[in-house]
């Protein structure tokens, strides 16, 4: 065989059989999302949503919303983290996130002041969880200091720990850690950056 004939151009021969039309893979993907959900092996479903504070990643287990992530956290890195800490059985499967996505849309449209979707606190520790579970009780449009929150959760000396619970909140926006400020009224840190924190506080002040 001469060198220039090389291997036969088999893909071309097969082209009529193997050419994949538009939308075919997308339809198969949707069917896979449904089947995996039915069989209970879709451990983490995710989607993204565009908001005034950027594109948010939303991820949910079968138990509930487990992660909300800002662009700045790098969504690919966040998903790799979920694969390691929760399960690698992760699919882009928007349907499980339909309700929370609608509620977030309503929140940014100032038609909603709280969220009522099931939450999964797997990504946090028990003290931090007690802090996070308290935060929705800070009324929409209001704020508390880290020390206030520490007192409310029964651990007045734990203001710093409250700070780190907020800083590592796996569910920002939905768990309103943006309503917690420094004792002197200044902004304090925020997982989505200070601009996002200000934007959320302004949104709530304007609506309240």
């Amino acid at each position: 065989m001469s060198a220039n004939t090389g291997e036969p151009n088999v893909p071309a021969m097969f082209a009529p059989l193997t050419t994949i039309g538009p939308g075919v893979l997308e339809k198969l993907h949707v069917a896979l999302e449904d089947a995996a959900g039915r069989e209970g092996i879709l451990d983490v479903a995710y989607r993204t949503i565009d908001t005034p504070v950027g594109t948010l990643l939303l991820a949910a287990t079968e138990r509930g919303l487990v992660r909300v992530a800002y662009d700045s956290e790098d969504h690919d890195v966040v998903l790799e983290g979920l694969a390691t800490t929760l399960s690698p059985r992760i699919l882009h499967a928007p349907r499980r996130l339909d309700t929370v996505a609608r509620e977030i849309d309503e929140y940014f449209a100032r038609r909603r002041t709280g969220f009522d979707v099931p939450l999964d606190f797997s990504l946090t520790t028990s003290f931090r969880r007690s802090v996070l579970e308290h935060l929705p009780q800070i009324a929409y449009g209001h704020t508390q200091s880290y020390a206030d929150v520490a007192r409310t959760v029964g651990n007045p000396k734990a203001a710093r720990a409250v700070g780190s619970a907020c800083a590592t909140n796996p569910l920002p926006v939905v768990i309103p850690c943006h309503r917690v400020l420094r004792g002197d009224g200044t902004l304090g840190g925020y997982v989505g950056g200070p601009a996002a924190k200000t934007a959320l506080l302004d949104l709530e002040t304007a609506a309240a």
Partner: protein, 166 residues
Amino acid sequence: MVVEMKQPFEKVVTEHSATVLRVCRAIVGPTDADDAWSETFLAAMRAYPELPADAKVEAWLVTIASRKAIDLLRARRRRATPVDELPEKASGEIAVTSASDVWMHVKDLPEKQRQVIAYHYLAGLPYADIAEILGGSSDAARRAASDGIATLRRHLTEAGSEGDTR
């Protein structure tokens, strides 16, 4: 010590979705390929947490696809009647006429030749990997592929010239 990280399964689907579908079509034809694809990725997703992090993902998927596709084929043959020898009318929307034309000839190849061709030319697996999947040597796999290609080329050329003189 490097801790191997496992990618989210979504990445596996995105990267190998098209290849797996092509392999399925070459082995079971356009009508049943979608089912074979779905069963492949569902089985792969179920087993994914136990897959070693350094495994060759594409060869692993192709192995599963191969099993699922052959199962489907055998189930299909059990249901088949003698009338089935006629060119198949594909019911799926993927099955355009020319796809069933190619499939008419591909499906007549011996199973092993069809698998080797799909794995090597459509999935791009080296013959050594194919030998691991199917058993036998890589030389045998290479021979099966070239025999199959020769038959296929002859049939497709004949079919083409028939069309010309029609």
